[in-house]
């Protein structure tokens, strides 16, 4: 293939990738895909790709020299590619354009069920507990807002990881809390149909390694409110830590459950 045409093809491939990265960053959709630390890299990467693609495109016909040894019989080609450039273009563009066309910036429940949505709570989670605010009784009032109805605002992750810490369980058992997350039907131990599962996603790097952080919502004798599956809700109630199915569960006895606005991102930045 004509080397100038190859440069143009490669430039267009790189510029397409740049456009995708910059669009997702600029539109704010990137918050659904990456943890905060990684997001600026998408901007830098997109800009870098744009510069690279434009540079090569605009200089496609210019003379260049690598400035080092070219012995006779050695074509010494710095631009010889592993495969046909049009094949490379197809392999690089088809998947990304397919993904851009089909993404809804979230996983389905089927995929989330593979990401711990319906797993038992962790029995030992000292790692993440390190990142949580201190939960001595004396500090709770300082670190958690109290609503007018008398419920303390807790991040769902705090409640979830309490299942692995007996000391925190002692403090929080019977405590009135308010939290938010997405509500889905509980699959196990729910013959009466009065239980739901409340979850959020914890993203360490990217959505592919996201992990659902769920707790159980028990509506008791009340009829659970009619809320669309997977809708964001704000729930207040009393937290308990019974042992069910051989594991300590975090169960919120719901006093109030109302639909709420989705947070601007998944990775637990709100309330911090």
């Amino acid at each position: 293939m004509n080397v100038k045409l190859q440069r143009i093809v490669f430039s267009l491939v790189v510029l397409t990738w740049a456009a995708v990265l910059l669009y997702f960053f600029g539109s704010g959709r990137i918050v659904k895909y990456l943890a905060p630390d990684f997001r600026p890299l998408v901007l830098y990467g997109g800009l870098g790709l744009a510069v690279l693609g434009l540079f090569v495109l605009l200089t496609a016909g210019e003379k260049s020299s690598c400035g080092h040894d070219h012995s006779e019989g050695d074509p010494h080609d710095h631009e010889a590619s592993d495969m046909n450039p049009f094949t490379s273009m197809a392999l690089m563009l088809v998947p990304i354009l397919f993904a851009v066309a089909n993404t809804k910036d979230s996983f389905s429940l089927a995929a989330l069920s593979r990401k711990s949505l319906f797993d038992e709570p962790l029995s030992n989670n000292v790692f993440l507990a390190e990142n949580l605010p201190p939960l001595t009784m004396a500090d709770i009032e300082k670190t958690h807002k109290k609503s007018e109805a008398g419920f303390y605002e807790f991040n769902l992750m705090e409640l979830y990881f309490a299942a692995g810490d007996p000391e925190i369980q002692k403090l929080l058992n019977g405590f009135k809390v308010e939290t938010e997350g997405r509500l889905v039907m509980e699959k196990e131990n729910n013959e009466a149909g009065n239980r739901r599962r409340l979850y959020r996603l914890f993203i360490t790097c990217c959505a592919a390694d996201a992990r659902a952080v769920p707790i159980i919502i028990d509506f008791g004798k009340e009829t659970p409110p009619t809320i669309a599956e997977n809708a964001w809700v704000k729930i207040s109630g009393t937290v308990t830590f019974p042992v069910e199915r051989g594991a300590t569960q975090v169960i919120l006895q719901s006093a109030s459950c109302v639909e709420s606005e989705a947070p601007w991102e998944e990775s637990f930045m709100r309330n911090y």
């Binding site: 997702f24 990456l34 400035g67 010494h76 710095h78 690089m92 390190e130």
Partner: protein, 368 residues
């Protein structure tokens, strides 16, 4: 097979899951690929042949040892390291050193050490009757096992012919690049002139004082190119490398996304293996292979896998940066498929044995 999970008939829900996982991994990895290929492109044009070689000891066993530590100075993740070593091999770095650097650098580097340290902060272990922080044990063990495995592989590679290891095309390029010198023996900077091809004349039967022997070779000399011409060449080399690597990266993350979201056949099978304690290290190694996580952040995933032993987590943390689905495709830009297969088997067995020994040792020490 469930239609939703069928590769041939992906439902809208499955397409949504695949697309979301695919893009998230692409966004995470693409900037690192770009960084690696830019470095690679500029190395291609600006680094004289054999330069890296001069920094390493002459003794090949010591050189491999040193190469295993280079990541501490040049921290590179596994996505970025492949295009870099591809270029370094072309520039005369011995293949054994290049592969050692490629395997060790994503693990033996300060960023990975810091993330591992942070991820395992909290739990304590009893070692020889003393209380030791788990993060210290895991960080040191990860870097130690990673270094050891990389160096072992480097020593093996040092004793086999290059043509068994590198792609035929790369071997041919190396032969063309250095027709009268052994690859990596020395460069041509000694001639005191740039050799580029515009205005040419030949050295015949010339003697180079730098290497103190005669070369009956022919060079084509030229005037030094101006800076802008070299930048153009470097950028063209970089974009070519980006596309070469990007193709394999795209295929790798597409497959990863299919497994990650349970669309690919066998995803449920993997889940069932992960619950078996005896097979736990193997199961987590398979998981690491499929998830294709970045070495700078995989410790945060491993630390939350509380059903698994520390030995299994160590296997996950050492194998992942050395071998995963995405790397399998990236390695094909440099290595022969047959060698990749043998390397994969060797890495799997060595790391598994290391993880078993580590867990056995901990079982003798840990007081519940």
């Amino acid at each position: 097979m469930n239609a939703r999970r069928s590769l041939t008939r992906m439902t809208g829900e499955a397409r949504q899951d695949f697309a979301f996982a695919f893009l998230s991994i692409l966004f995470e990895g693409a900037p690192f690929i770009l960084l690696g290929t830019l470095i690679s492109g500029f190395i291609d044009i600006y680094m004289p042949p054999g330069m890296m070689d001069r920094f390493l000891p002459k003794n090949k066993f010591l050189a491999v040892l040193m190469a295993g530590l280079l990541g501490a100075v040049f921290p590179v993740c596994e996505c970025a390291v492949v295009p870099v070593i591809r270029r370094l091999v072309k520039k005369g770095l011995p293949v054994s050193c290049a592969l050692t650097y490629m395997l060790a650098a994503p693990i033996v580097n300060p960023i990975t050490a810091l993330s591992t340290w942070k991820a395992f902060t909290g739990p304590v272990m009893m070692i020889y009757g003393e209380t030791v922080q788990a993060n210290l044990v895991m960080t040191v063990s990860r870097m130690g096992l990673g270094f050891l495995v990389a160096v072992l592989l480097g020593w093996v590679v040092a004793s086999i012919p290059m043509v068994w290891v590198l792609r035929k095309r790369l071997v041919d390029e190396l032969k063309n690049d250095m027709p009268d010198h052994k690859a990596g023996e020395h460069g041509h900077a000694c001639c005191g002139d740039d050799h580029s091809g515009q205005h040419s004349y030949k050295h015949v039967e010339s003697s180079h004082t730098c290497c103190e022997h005669d070369h009956s070779h022919e060079h084509i000399h030229a005037h030094k190119p101006d800076g802008s011409q070299r930048i153009v060449a470097a950028m063209r080399s970089a974009i070519k490398d980006f596309v070469d690597v990007g193709v394999y990266f795209s295929i790798g993350i597409a497959i990863t996304a299919l497994f990650n979201t349970g669309i690919a056949p066998g995803a449920a099978w993997l889940d069932s293996i992960a619950n078996r304690q005896i097979l736990a290290p193997s199961a987590l190694m398979v998981l690491a292979f499929i998830l294709s996580l970045c070495s700078t952040s995989d410790a945060f995933i491993a630390a939350t896998l509380d059903k698994f032993t520390y030995g299994a987590k160590l296997a996950f943390l050492v194998l992942g940066p050395m071998l995963d689905l995405k790397l399998l495709f990236l390695y094909q830009t440099v290595l022969r498929k047959k060698f990749i297969l043998w390397m994969a088997v060797g890495l799997f067995i060595t790391i598994l044995l290391g993880a078993y020994y580590f867990q056995w040792f901990l079982n003798q020490q840990i007081v519940p």
